[in-house]
């Protein structure tokens, strides 16, 4: 995270534009059962949100083994899948979210510009 320091300010500015209301980030994490990948994803997501979106996010974990009918609605193919339902547009990140950088880019919390530098 230190490598991104030169751009943190700018990224924060951008996110500040979105930060009009708290709880703006409506995230849904799809998993299937308590697999190691699921647990890792949940843990990674919580950590990541606390660090970057403290106080302005909601996380909903959907276990598709319990509610399989929800899979088609959000076009879930791979698991785990993190879906940013709000703000629009819909964004998807797949995997156990171990690569924080890519998650932040995928959720538009950090711009792609930041990632490339």
């Amino acid at each position: 995270m230190s490598i991104d320091k030169p751009n943190v300010g700018r990224a924060a500015d951008e996110s500040n534009d979105f930060l009009e209301e708290p709880g703006e980030y409506n995230l849904r994490l799809y998993v299937a059962g308590q697999t190691p990948k699921s647990l890792a994803a949940i843990a990674n997501l919580k950590k990541l949100c606390e660090e970057n979106l403290a106080g302005r996010y909601t996380i909903e974990v959907v276990d598709l083994l319990v509610t399989p009918q929800l899979a088609a609605g959000d076009q879930i193919v791979a698991l785990p899948t993190l879906v940013r339902r709000l703000p629009q547009p819909l964004k998807r990140v797949i995997g156990d979210l171990s690569n924080t950088e890519r998650v932040l880019v995928g959720l538009d919390i950090r711009s792609k510009l930041a990632r490339t530098t």
């Binding site: 799809y30 299937a32 990948k37 890792a40 994803a41 990674n44 598709l64 083994l65 399989p68 009918q69 899979a71 088609a72 076009q75 879930i76 193919v77 791979a78 698991l79 785990p80 899948t81 819909l90 964004k91 998807r92 990140v93 797949i94 995997g95 156990d96 979210l97 171990s98 690569n99 924080t100 890519r102 998650v103 880019v105 995928g106």
Partner: protein, 572 residues
């Protein structure tokens, strides 16, 4: 099953043998060449280039499953949205929406857009499994189609994960016991673009769409079918408004049941030339001839006769439109329009160049299946152009199909001028049971038509060349005259007839004259005899008179003597 069990019991083996179960696709030809359908509970790979009909095959499999076999199905589409799919198959008369509503079909469109997905860390395709599993369980599906699962490769980066997940998916499908079709795009140097044939090895069907001389032919081949025998050739198939038809396998053995019944050719004089008074039912008849010799007329006469017997006829016209045929045949007294109206006669007209050769055959086969005719006419087979082996193969199959169904098939063929047989004629001649050759004879500045029977299997037939005429009453044969230079036809025949009439007259007159002379002679002789008899009678009468006189004289003489004696006696 029962026989299998018995066999197992006989061999004394403890484990029970079960043959591979098959799930019929409802696509007739395909079920025939796979000897029953796709392997039940196993995935089948269907690959082919774009536009080969993979999706349509898969959809037909599902919809037939619902409609004909009461097996619900799941379609997981990676390429087309539900709405597009519904529209696409609606053109074939399939109402997908209604099936979905009745919970017999689930259509799940899987949308994957690389740009919208960020990959972070490890993942698997459990989501797909969950969706598929949910869809299958929600309606108790027996059939599953994944169309085209390779789209995943363009949507996700990690091909290593994809490959291992696909392997797991196919194994999972097998565990689920569903019969699945997985479609895939044809790849360079391998069956599929991403080589997924590695994972599906139970049954692989290859679809192909080839263009030869600007004519497209769709072909299907079963590349492999583990645990079952199958047709190994390429089979043409057809996609049109009636759905998919695959041409069934030609039975290798010649074992069709034959008929001893004969059917009229529709031309009374021609029937008379054949010892069984017509063609055998279920036989193949070839009528070959030059342009304008009346091939179609002979064919139509046959059709007309069949319809009058109440049989169903299918007329494949490749050169004339049905209306034209009906109109033209009305001029020779054949009222085909009435048979069309009564539904006994149906025309199928198409330009030969419309499809490839085998597509025509597939189409004809489908039409035959649907119309179930007793008589078909193909007019003419010479319209087909192409390599002779292909023509031959196709006509063999057509003749075979007809024979196996007991259909009497009449083919016409346009001969080229001269004695040479056309390619199509040569290739089919050995298949035909009856071959009638129509000819033009040119002499004395005119053309006349003659007919002869080249062969007719299983019956005696006239070996004569016969002249025939197409009149408004139909076809009529005329006795041909054999002159010093061969057969006389037309005016030459008429002249010959006149000459013969003259000679006959002359002969009759001569005879009559002789008879008259004889009568006169007899009369003369009779007269002479009468005269002589009269003379004789006169003489006889004279002689009789003389005798009488003599007797009288003698008598008188006698009495005189007595008197004298008396006188003398008295004296002594």
């Amino acid at each position: 099953m029962a026989t299998k069990q018995k066999k197992a019991a006989q061999t004394g083996s403890s484990h029970r043998l079960t043959a591979l179960q098959k799930t019929p696709t409802g696509i007739k030809g395909l079920d025939a060449l796979t000897l029953g359908g796709l392997p039940t509970g196993r995935p089948t790979l269907m690959c082919g280039a774009a536009g080969c009909g993979k999706t349509l095959f898969a959809m037909t499999f599902l919809i037939n499953g619902v409609n004909e076999f009461n097996e619900p199905g799941v379609l997981m589409s990676f390429e087309e949205r539900e709405r597009d799919l519904e529209t696409n198959v609606a053109s074939l008369g399939y109402d997908v929406a209604a099936l979905v509503e009745r919970k017999q079909l689930v259509v799940d469109y899987v949308y994957i857009e690389r740009a919208e997905i960020e990959e972070s860390g490890e993942y698997d395709l459990e989501g797909l499994f969950v969706r598929l599993g949910h869809a299958i369980d929600s309606i108790g599906a027996k059939r599953v189609v994944l169309d085209t699962i390779e789209a995943l490769f363009s949507g996700l980066d990690d091909t290593a994960i994809l490959r291992s997940e696909l392997r797991r998916l196919f194994a999972w499908l097998k565990d689920k016991g569903v019969t699945a079709i997985i479609t895939a795009e044809r790849g360079e140097g391998q069956l599929t673009r991403y080589g997924i044939e590695e994972y599906i090895s139970d049954c692989v069907i290859l679809l192909d769409n080839r263009v030869e001389e600007q004519v497209t032919t769709r072909r299907l081949r079963v590349v492999k079918y583990r645990g079952s025998s199958h047709g190994t050739n390429e089979y043409p198939f057809l996609i049109d408004e009636h759905g998919i038809s695959v041409l069934p396998i030609t039975s290798a053995e010649l074992s069709h049941r034959i008929s001893h019944e004969s059917v009229s050719s529709g031309v009374a004089d021609l029937d008379a030339m054949l010892s069984v008074r017509g063609y055998f039912r279920g036989s193949s008849i070839l009528i070959s001839g030059l342009a304008g010799t009346g091939k179609s007329t002979f064919a139509s006469a046959f059709v007309n006769a069949a319809c009058e017997r109440g049989e169903r006829c299918l007329f494949f016209a490749f050169e004339e439109s049905p209306d034209q045929i009906v109109r033209n045949m009305a001029s020779v007294g054949l009222k085909l329009d009435a048979h069309v109206a009564s539904g006994l006669l149906a025309f199928q007209a198409a330009r030969p160049s419309l499809y490839g050769f085998e597509m025509h055959l597939a189409r004809m086969n489908r039409d035959i299946e649907e119309f179930a005719p007793q008589v078909i006419v193909v007019d003419p087979i010479s319209a087909f152009r192409g390599p002779s082996f292909e023509i031959h193969a196709t006509l063999v199959r057509l003749a075979d199909i007809c024979k196996s169904k007991g259909i009497t098939a009449l083919f016409t063929s346009l001969s080229s001028s001269g004695e040479q047989m056309t390619e199509s004629e040569r290739s089919v001649s050995s298949l035909m049971d009856t071959w009638i050759s129509l000819k033009d004879v040119e002499a004395n500045g005119e053309r006349n038509r003659v007919l002869y029977l080249l062969k007719s299997r299983g019956m005696n037939h006239s070996k004569q060349l016969r002249e025939y005429q197409l009149t408004d009453q139909g076809i009529h044969m005329i006795d041909a005259y054999l002159g010093p230079d061969g057969v006389l036809t037309g005016t030459a025949r008429i002249a010959q007839e006149a000459r013969e009439r003259e000679a006959m007259l002359l002969r009759r007159q001569t005879t009559e004259r002789r008879q008259r002379e004889l009568a006169r002679k007899r009369a003369a002789i009779d007269r002479q005899i009468a005269e002589m008899r009269a003379t004789l009678e006169t003489e006889e009468r004279e002689v009789a008179t003389l005798i009488e006189q003599e007797e009288a004289r003698e008598l008188a003489h006698g009495s005189e003597r007595t008197e004298m004696a008396a006188m003398r006696g008295m004296r002594p």
